[in-house]
Subunit: 255 residues, 3 copies
């Protein structure tokens, strides 16, 4: 079966970094398909990368090998991980990126080469390991068992309190929609305040009037703040990681 590699990085597309990773993968597995999730994760934003990875996993082809490289600690002693799950293998640094997914499979510590480059482990460590896995090598050929030590974890989400939901922006998309770290199955009242501004809970972007602020269950399994055909992120001054307060609007107050 054709190998499928999936890439998620903060490398950007202005440099040849992503291309060099793809070159190494293609040199090793000439027939492989390579899918870019995105290379524009906010620089060094492990929290955002972990979110984007987790929400994308359900769509990946079976037996995908994911390279997730948002790695401000490159060159330090932080470990490189391999998560070996039934339908997917994920290679990533031990910096929180894999923490939300770790329970889904078995963890391995990737064996580092004798003298790895100090600044580009995605190309020089992870890509060659991904190639070996794609060619059939078992985890033990490229890694050692992780054992029971805890992974580096992400900052915990803010605790909810009665009458108010405190959450964070996990990602801002191209349209300025703010994807929240708030599962779409969390109930919300029909009219709420977002950072103190009235917003309507709607089903889809088109249910909003032009420039109206709304909240909806988006395509990534979480609640989103949206502004019809404009940028909610710009209006509210929000970026990835920002805290967001949602409170029930007084039903008697004018919207």
């Amino acid at each position: 079966m054709r190998p499928v590699f999936v890439l998620l990085t903060d490398f950007g597309l202005t440099s040849p970094y992503v291309g060099q990773v793809k070159a190494v993968l293609t040199a090793g597995c000439r027939d492989a398909a390579i899918i870019d999730l995105t290379h524009e994760v906010s620089a060094h934003a492990v929290f955002e990368a972990a979110f984007l990875l987790a929400v994308s996993i359900p769509y990946l082809p079976p037996q995908s090998i994911v390279l997730a490289v948002v790695d401000p600690g490159v060159g330090t002693e932080r470990a490189m991980l391999l998560l070996d799950a039934p339908q997917i293998r994920i290679l990533a640094p031990d910096n929180g990126l894999l923490a939300p997914l770790a329970h889904q499979g078995t963890l391995w510590r990737i064996s580092m080469p004798e003298a790895p480059s100090a600044t580009f482990h995605g190309r020089d460590v992870l890509a060659p390991v991904a190639v070996r896995l794609a060619l059939g090598a078992p985890p033990i050929a490229v890694a050692t068992p992780w054992g029971t030590q805890p992974l580096v974890s992400l900052p915990a989400p803010p605790a909810p309190s009665p009458g108010q939901i405190l959450t964070r922006v996990a990602h801002v998309d191209r349209f300025g929609n703010c994807l929240l770290e708030l599962p779409a199955n969390t109930p919300l009242p029909a009219r709420i305040l977002v950072q103190g501004r009235p917003a309507r809970v709607v089903r889809t972007y088109s249910d909003l009037a032009p420039q109206e602020l709304g909240v909806l269950r988006g395509s990534q399994g979480v609640w989103e703040i949206a502004l019809r055909e404009a940028s909610a992120a710009h209006l509210l001054g929000l970026g990835a990681g920002a805290l967001v307060f949602l409170t029930a609007a007084d039903p008697l107050a004018p919207a």
Copy 2:
């Protein structure tokens, strides 16, 4: 024959949206090639997307399946179309995107699933349909005949008047060249005024002096406004959709 999918969207590349569409396509057709036309159509700019699609069609591999998703009306009752033409199939919302091409094939209305997601029909409706078509399903398996009702159309181009051409910017490229909605076979005088500024009609960018404004037949089959090694869009304050006036320059006036 290897399936070829072609994508044109306004999703941008900062989010995993494009990657999730590619994941669904690759999960269904593991051997497929996927070509990105662009994902940076101005947000919600159906007019620009229709232009970029139409000018790119002649270069696509035979039997390409195109997913064109610029869809501000996602989640509303607007239909999803399949245009079945001899060498190409195009999936797109009925919002004007397909209007310039509809005469080239047979139109079908894509059957919607029972409970489609409200915000991401590209991934959840079009990609699975594209996979089924690529695997050999006939249109009737995924759609119903469109019949004779008119498509949603694009705003008509401005009407020409004697001595003056009124046109629109269809697209601004990375260099600041302004591609006009004016076919390259439209005759123009050798010296013209663009928004009142003198410009020279030339064959190629290099025929212009540094910072000189010019008009030329570009690579997309239309006239372009260009500024040598600088941005004509910036100089003239033009973006996609902007109106442009071209008038013959007084041949006796200083250029």
Copy 3:
């Protein structure tokens, strides 16, 4: 063996230009893999493109065919070159892009079609030639021997002087790291001044304190200026092509 095409351009990704090149390549070689090095070379920056090409070559799959198109002289009489080297073939305009690599193989002048388009030789000249080469055509089928005439060369790097290294920024990456035209095997003292500001020579980004300026051997085989989790390019006001002065810091002065 599956053909591999590698693209390096300044076309950007907002227009369908790259997609049209890929469409022509895929129409001709339906099974090909296509790798993007980057399409965001600074507009018309031949110097930067030559650098990015040279540093990426070692990672490319064997028998790759590279299309390198940064071509402000498109449509003029400048020649289009084919460099035929043992493991790679590179197609590029004769504007300096190939000069650093020309000694690695045999040069050919690509035969131009009767009436090439004036503005898009990447799509209309190079891509069809690349397809013919990938399908097995020898260079003589698409080109004539270049002979002994010199190539257009790049501006020479600044000359070193005692106690000071004068170099240039070859590329600024997404993180604001400034990649210098200074091979990583050039010795540097442990503490230096960069444009007069103290900087520490370190092994990896993480060796720097937050906001500390440093210089390190980066992943591209050259020295880089870096600022921990911030943009050195922004701090120092540097872009591709900018001159950089490195001098030894007085070992007795406070850092």
